[in-house]
């Protein structure tokens, strides 16, 4: 079993839709939970991070962490074609030197 599981998609939605991206994990020691966005032929860029459980909102993006279920989510409201990218979840323990990534979900938002 992989430490971090993420559905690779691909996921295709119409512009304006609400997008839900999810990851599950097995290591209960993970404390930091991140979402990175990767455009084609580019390196990943940090989109959001959450420490421990809870929700965090930033504009159209909301990150949720449920440590009891070992489940994290990223919601994108009013999705735009410019949101089309691969979204990778990542997580690490308190040390932050052991970040583990999901496989990434490829999202396409159609105009």
């Amino acid at each position: 079993q992989k430490e971090v599981e993420q559905d690779p998609g691909p996921l295709s939605v119409p512009e304006g839709a609400i997008v839900s991206l999810n990851c599950t994990y097995s290591n209960s020691a993970f404390q930091y939970f991140m979402w990175y966005r990767q455009y084609s032929r580019k390196g990943p860029e940090l989109l959001m991070y959450t420490y421990s459980s809870g929700n965090k909102e930033d504009g159209r993006f909301t990150a949720q962490v449920d440590k009891s279920s070992k489940y994290i989510s990223l919601f994108i409201r009013d999705s735009q074609p410019s949101d089309s990218a691969t979204y990778l979840c990542a997580m690490s323990t308190q040390n932050n030197n052991d970040m583990r990534f999901g496989a990434g979900t490829r999202l396409t938002v159609k105009p």
Binding site: G43, L46, L88, N97
Partner: protein, 114 residues
């Protein structure tokens, strides 16, 4: 300011040859990380530098892989006697403090071993 840069952007090599990949981190960033990204898979951690020392080499897949860093500057990842399974995108990232979840990635080097 300038981001993380990597060179070459693409490298095609024959099986058995050695390759050297270069990473220039953001100036002032103390930590530097190397990852491998195979097609359709997540990032696989290879090695992490704090300054020019590597406290964690656990991710290097075999003794054919090695990495060095000069001070808090450029790093090179060397793969000796390349194999076809080494074909992947090799990504470098740096962070201001070490270690950190807030990593800034370069565009990667796409390595193809024929």
């Amino acid at each position: 300011g300038a981001g993380v840069s990597q060179s070459p952007s693409n490298k095609v090599t024959e099986k058995g040859k050695d390759v050297e990949l270069r990473c220039d981190p953001i100036s002032g960033h103390t930590a530097l990380y190397w990852y491998r990204q195979r097609l359709g898979q997540g990032l696989e951690f290879l090695i992490y530098f704090q300054g020019n020392s590597a406290p964690d080499k656990s991710g290097l897949p075999s003794d054919r892989f090695s990495a060095e860093r000069t001070g808090e500057s450029v790093s090179t990842l060397t793969i000796q006697r390349t194999q076809q399974e080494d074909s992947a995108v090799y990504l470098c990232a740096s962070s201001l403090v070490s270690p950190s979840y807030e990593q800034y990635f370069g565009p990667g080097t796409r390595l193809t071993v024929t």
